[in-house]
Structures are given as C-alpha cells and as structure tokens.
C-alpha cells in the first residue's frame, strides 16, 4: 500500500493505492499527519481494490477524530466492492461520499 498527498482548494487529498486491510492499516495511520490533525481532508479511494473491516474501522476512527476537533473527512471514488462494505455496515451514514476527489474538495472548501 502506498499513500500520496496533494493540495486542492486548500484541502489535503490523501490518495491510497493498494488494499486497506488488517495488515496495512497500521502503516496507513502512520503515513501522514493530515490523517490525525484537525484539518478537513479528502481520502481518495480510487486505488483501493480491497477494504476489510479493519480498513473500515480506521476510516470511521479518522472521521470521529476529525469531527471531535471541528474538521471533517470526505471519501471519493469507491468502487463497487467498497460501496458494498459501506452499505451493509451502514457506514455510509457517517460519510459524504463523492464520485471524484476534485468535487469532494470543492464542496468541502465551499462549506
């Protein structure tokens, strides 16, 4: 799993490539300070082919921590498999989910 960061409309977009699962979650959480600070971010999941319950738990934790600090996290580009995970666990209720990272960033910046 690799993680990249870029700025878009003053927002950080964190892009993950690979699978977000039990064995890669610890590395992901350490990959970027943007995941734990109070700033809003977009997480681009276009490159994520597989997400398990640990990966989901880690995204939920990021959302909780951001919101406790007044920030937010938006998700972009979930493939069919990822959408299914968000549906059957009802986790879609916790996230704004966008078709692409740019529009997620634009919407967030305009709020």
């Amino acid at each position: 799993m690799t993680v990249e960061e870029k700025k878009c409309h003053d927002l950080t977009i964190v892009s993950i490539n690979g699978s977000l699962e039990a064995s890669s979650v610890p590395g992901f959480m350490k990959s970027s300070p943007a995941l734990t600070d109070s700033q809003s971010i977009v997480i681009d999941l276009a490159g994520v082919d597989f997400l398990d319950s640990s990966g989901l738990g880690c995204l939920v934790t990021i959302a909780r921590k951001k919101r406790e600090q007044g920030g937010d996290v938006r998700l972009a580009c979930l493939n069919e498999k990822l959408r299914r995970v968000f549906e059957v666990t009802q986790a879609f209720r916790l996230f704004d989910i966008y078709d692409d990272a740019e529009s997620a960033a634009t919407t967030a910046a305009n709020k």
């Binding site: 064995s23 398990d52 319950s53 989901l56 738990g57 069919e80 059957v88 916790l94």
Partner: protein, 140 residues
Amino acid sequence: MDTFITMSFPSEISYARLASNAASMVAEIFSRQVGIWEKRQEFCHAFELSVAEAFSNSVRNAANPETDGQIIICFSSDQNELMVSVRDTNPAFDPDIPAPDILSYPDRGYGLLLIRQLMDQVLYSRENDMNLLSMIKKAG
C-alpha cells in the same frame, strides 16, 4: 456437499491476503462451473471478504500466539452452493454478536456483521476444541 479444497496456514496476519485471494479464485471457478458468471463479481467479493474477516479474527483472537495453531480452510460445494469453513484452535466465541451502533463511530466489530450480510448462511460449531465457522452462499 463435498470438500474439494483444503488449505492449512500459520496463524499469522501476513497470510490473510493469500487466504482471501484463494477464496476469491475458488468462487470464480465455481461461478463459471455452475453458470452464474454474470454475478461472479459479487459472489467472489463475498468469499474474499468473508475469508479475510474470518482469518484475521482467528489470528487476532488466538489464545496463545506462541504455540503453533494452524488455521484450516476448506471449500465444499454442490450444484446449488459454495461453502467455505474456517477452523482455529481459539477459545469459543459467539458468532451472533450484535452489530455495533454505527452512529457511535465504532472502530471495530464489523467483521462478523460483514460475514452475516454477505453470506446466505453462517454456521458455528465447536469441534474437538476447535472453532468451526462455516459460511455458505447460494448460486441461485
């Protein structure tokens, strides 16, 4: 149902992806064989994710990570359904543990929920001091 593939792995998280990929490939072969090729993606994902969850649960909840407990995965099928079972030497557990309350932002507890939702039937039993979690999905 006849068991046609058996796999035995060390109880280590590094083998979770191997086990779940294998499950996805078995499901793909089954999808072709029984003629449900058009819904293979959903079918394969159910097996891939369920085995990933069951396997990582087995690793995480090992009573004694030092001793050499193996995780044993079997695939069985007939024309109507594919079953995967995961066996470990862990303490017994409750497979019907309720789903967590999503609105309280739980950081865990999604594993068995995902398995129950993606599979058609989940059976749990305790045999010879081992947990046996069997997960079945129907072709139809």
